[in-house]
């Protein structure tokens, strides 16, 4: 079994309204020291495939579905479990 861990982040320079809104809420709650918040999606995908094939498959998923290259960048880790 493979586990792919993918973090889909907004690219630098793209506004992150969710991060901003959470920063705002944290500031409201009195956490004045918060300077910045970024929020990303964190996917864990279990795959029933051998490692190399699995990696290719996940790349396909990223391309076909999980990432819009105009606004996203991602980190990917595939490991056997």
């Amino acid at each position: 079994m493979l586990k792919a861990t993918i973090i889909v982040k907004l690219k630098d320079g793209i506004d992150d309204p969710e991060g901003k809104s959470i920063k705002h809420s944290l500031n409201l709650l009195g956490f004045d020291s918060v300077v910045n918040v970024h929020v990303s999606k964190y996917y864990e995908i279990l795959l029933d495939l051998p490692k190399d094939e699995g990696e290719r498959e996940v790349q396909e998923m990223l391309k076909k579905l999980l990432v819009n290259p105009v606004i996203h960048e991602y980190e990917l880790r595939v490991e056997e479990i």
């Binding site: 809104s21 705002h24 809420s25 409201l28």
Partner: protein
């Protein structure tokens, strides 16, 4: 506890020879939440059969007898006051999952309100979302298309700054979570959320209330009943899979919140709108093609309640194969499958010949189905697990449940009313507009898609676009080819009900009528959401009895039936009970939506009328709360007048001579007029001297019932006065500020932008 394995995952419980201690132990260990008396009744039954029960049988009975399923504390009271109010138009009343009332010759509307309090207190996002999901199913399962949602919500004060009890979350966190849950569910399934309430009171600090209501529309000849009255009908489970979710959710809803509630994780679900959305389509298409014999949704109580009630109502029995149920987790025991409350499931009864049609619909909508049993002539329930009988009982015993005449006591009221020094009017006005129960709820309303389906012809926010005010009710135009509309509103007044539950209940019914009439709709029927504390306390039971008495009397006097409803008890935490909270979802009919009225002032120069008489009972008023003055005198309602005045006002509206209308509620006349000015982006000038003689502050801020503010063009003034008897000319529309005097004495002059700022920004500070 003494038990013996029968087959894998099924055990025999040693009940026949259990002593009292052991009976209580069994109830505790299995989490049955049954009293000793109830355990004894169960024991007696199985002694009659001469055998021990299986664990499944014990769970099935416990569930059938839970407060939530059997209404054991409330039934006798509801029967006395709430049920049986005669109505010409009601078609199905307090029988199935939602009430059904005639809309026009061919169509009926279907609606109900329900609570989802405890799950939402523990997990606001998922709790509120599943609350919405549940109420949609109740309407859908009558064969109706859901066309609107409402969400009355009750929280502690958002500016609460004292220490929180363990396990209790801050109102701001809860409010944000609840609103997000309702938003993400309602918006995704494509049903507009068009009305609601957001109410704040200290006494909800430890126990919030999340109620949700749904309205649907159905052709009269397509109404589906939750009844199967013939043997040999297949029982099919459609939609989501069955998991451990919500196990003991029903009992959980009948339990008191304490520090350990956070551990009751199984009772928490997140809800899956993207399963529900296709399920709605599937059910409506199946119904349209006439293949549904009977249907019931899986709500609190799971398969157990559904199959039992559906067959019992039709006088048949059933055979069920639990191993046929599709599971989320493969290792579930039969009793878990039987009581699971997994959402997004429907039980559809179909004849064999229609099975292929149902199968192809499931394929189209990508939903799973499984045939889990069929109905039988004898009124017994027999359950199999891999071909072995693991439950065999008469249906009657499981579904009949128990009833209690709980003792109650009614708090004596000592009537008193302080007279505060006269306020500084300008300052008070702005404080009232920014008080949480009056301030703008726009932040919430706009997060709900209140226009999806394109039928919301009177919106919750009304007036000049960009400067809208609160409306009193929303109107849905359900049919493309008819001008007829359905008005919907929700009301509750916990401040008044806390003082005097009886009067508070009557006041609530009056306010429901006020809101509906304000938009030009004739009140048609009600659904009652009764939220109360722990009924095992005499005084709380007394509050419940008094509330029901008031609700019943008022509705009866007005000819308005309660066609559906819900009781939520045990809203108690850390020894504190919520105030009596009778929430009404009220429906009105407007024959022609082109005659609907909104709350925003329309034109400079128009006259402003106060309709109804003002009294000086200040108990429960926002004014007294803000200035911290005491009064125990709840506003009195004259129901005869409610009826007469609303009829005459509707008459005037029908003649097209009312330009805008707003009912007078929180904050009194002054706030009502300010809201109308905000929405119209135009000022007004008032002189209070023609009102009945009383203190000026009472004239402005009294919340006495059965009153509206109306705007009338000068050329219609005479006609209006002759049609609407109790109307007093109090001013006219115009300018850019609200100017108020009483005779020669000027009270305040506030620019509408200032009014709007106070009103709009008060809640914003505390939310997302």
């Amino acid at each position: 506890m003494n038990y013996k394995k029968i087959v894998d995952s099924v055990y025999e419980i040693e009940l026949l020879n259990a002593d009292e201690n052991e009976l209580s132990e069994i109830s505790d260990e299995l989490g049955l939440a049954l009293s000793l008396d109830e355990m004894k009744k169960m024991q007696e039954f199985f002694r009659g059969l001469g055998r021990n029960p299986t664990d499944l049988e014990v769970h099935a009975i416990a569930q059938g007898w839970s407060e939530h399923c059997s209404y054991k504390s409330s039934k006798p009271i509801l029967r006395k006051y709430i049920f049986g109010i005669p109505s010409e138009h009601a078609l199905i009343v307090m029988q199935d999952d939602a009430g059904v009332v005639e809309f026009n010759e061919d169509y009926a509307y279907v609606f109900k309100i329900e609570s989802h309090n405890h799950p939402s207190a523990v997990e606001p996002y998922g709790g509120a979302a599943t609350g919405v999901g549940g109420i949609i199913r109740d309407v859908l399962n009558m064969g109706a298309k859901p066309i609107a949602l409402v969400d009355p919500l009750f929280f502690g004060p958002p500016d609460y700054s004292k220490n929180l009890n363990k396990g209790i979350k801050h109102p701001m966190f809860l409010l944000n979570g609840v609103v997000a849950g309702i938003r993400d569910y309602g918006n995704r399934v494509g049903i507009p959320t068009v009305a609601g309430m957001t109410y704040f009171h200290e006494d909800y600090m430890n126990n919030i209330l999340v109620n949700a209501g749904c309205l649907g529309i159905v052709k009269k000849d397509k109404i589906v009943r939750s009844v199967v009255d013939r043997a040999g009908i297949k029982l099919v489970l459609v939609g989501g899979r069955t998991g451990r979710d919500g196990i003991h959710g029903v009992n959980f809803a009948s339990k008191i919140l304490d520090e350990n509630s956070e551990e009751e994780r199984q009772a928490v679900q997140l809800g899956n709108p993207i399963l529900k959305e296709p399920l709605i389509h599937l059910v409506l298409e199946a119904n349209e093609s006439g293949i549904i014999y009977g249907m019931k949704d899986l709500g609190g109580g799971g398969l157990g309640s559904v199959i039992g009630e559906m067959c019992h109502a039709g006088g048949v029995g059933a055979e069920v194969h639990l191993d046929k149920v599709l599971l989320k987790e493969q290792d579930m025991a039969p009793w878990e499958i039987w009581v699971s409350e997994s959402q997004e499931r429907m039980l559809i009864a179909v004849e064999d010949k229609n099975m292929p049609a149902l199968q192809s619909l499931c394929k189209k909508w990508d939903l799973e189905m499984s045939v889990i049993g069929e109905t039988k002539p004898e009124e017994r329930l027999v359950i199999y697990w891999h071909n072995k009988v693991i439950l065999d009982m008469p249906l009657e015993f499981i579904t009949a449940g128990v009833e209690y005449e709980r003792p109650y006591s009614i708090r004596a009221l000592r009537k008193m009313q302080e007279l505060p020094p006269e306020p500084r009017y300008r300052e008070l006005m702005l404080r009232l507009l920014s008080s949480f129960n009056i301030a703008s709820k726009e932040w919430i309303i706009r997060q709900y898609d209140h226009e999806v389906q394109g039928k919301t012809v009177i919106k919750p926010l009304q007036g000049v676009v960009g400067s809208e005010t609160h409306g009193d009710a929303a109107i849905i135009k359900p049919l493309a080819e008819s001008w007829r509309g359905i008005a919907v509103t929700t009301v509750a007044n916990p401040h008044i009900a806390k003082l005097d539950p009886y009067m508070g209940a009557i006041y609530t019914v009056d306010e429901a009528v006020r809101n509906l009439v304000a938009v030009g709709a004739k009140p048609s029927s009600l659904s009652d959401g009764l939220n109360f504390g722990n009924p095992e306390h005499k005084e709380i039971m007394g509050e419940f009895v008094e509330s029901c008495r008031g609700l019943g009397e008022a509705a009866r006097a007005l000819g308005l039936p309660y066609v559906s409803g819900n009781v939520s008890f045990y809203n108690e935490a850390f020894g504190k009970n919520i105030p009596p909270t009778a929430v009404l979802m009220a429906i009105g009919i407007i024959k022609d939506i082109r005659k609907a009225i909104t709350a925003d002032f329309k034109n400079e120069g128009n006259r402003i009328y106060l309709v109804g008489k003002t009294a000086s009972d200040m108990g429960g008023s926002e004014y007294y709360r803000v200035v911290r003055a005491q009064s125990t005198i709840a506003p009195k309602v004259n129901l005869e007048k409610t009826k007469k005045l609303s009829e005459s006002l509707l008459n005037a509206m029908n003649q097209g001579i009312v330009k805008s209308c707003h009912d007078i509620s929180h904050g009194g006349l002054a706030v009502a007029v300010a809201e109308m000015a905000i929405g119209g982006a135009v000022g007004a000038e008032l002189n209070l001297e023609n009102m009945e003689h009383m203190r000026t502050d009472f004239k402005l801020f009294s919340e006495s019932p059965t009153r509206w503010v109306c705007e009338v063009a000068p050329e219609h003034a005479e006609k209006f006065e002759s049609v609407v008897k109790e109307s007093t000319a109090i001013g006219k529309v115009g300018g850019t500020s609200l100017k108020v005097r009483d005779g020669e004495r000027w009270l305040f002059n506030i620019h509408i932008d200032t009014l709007r700022e106070s009103w709009k920004n008060a809640l914003k500070r505390y939310i997302g």
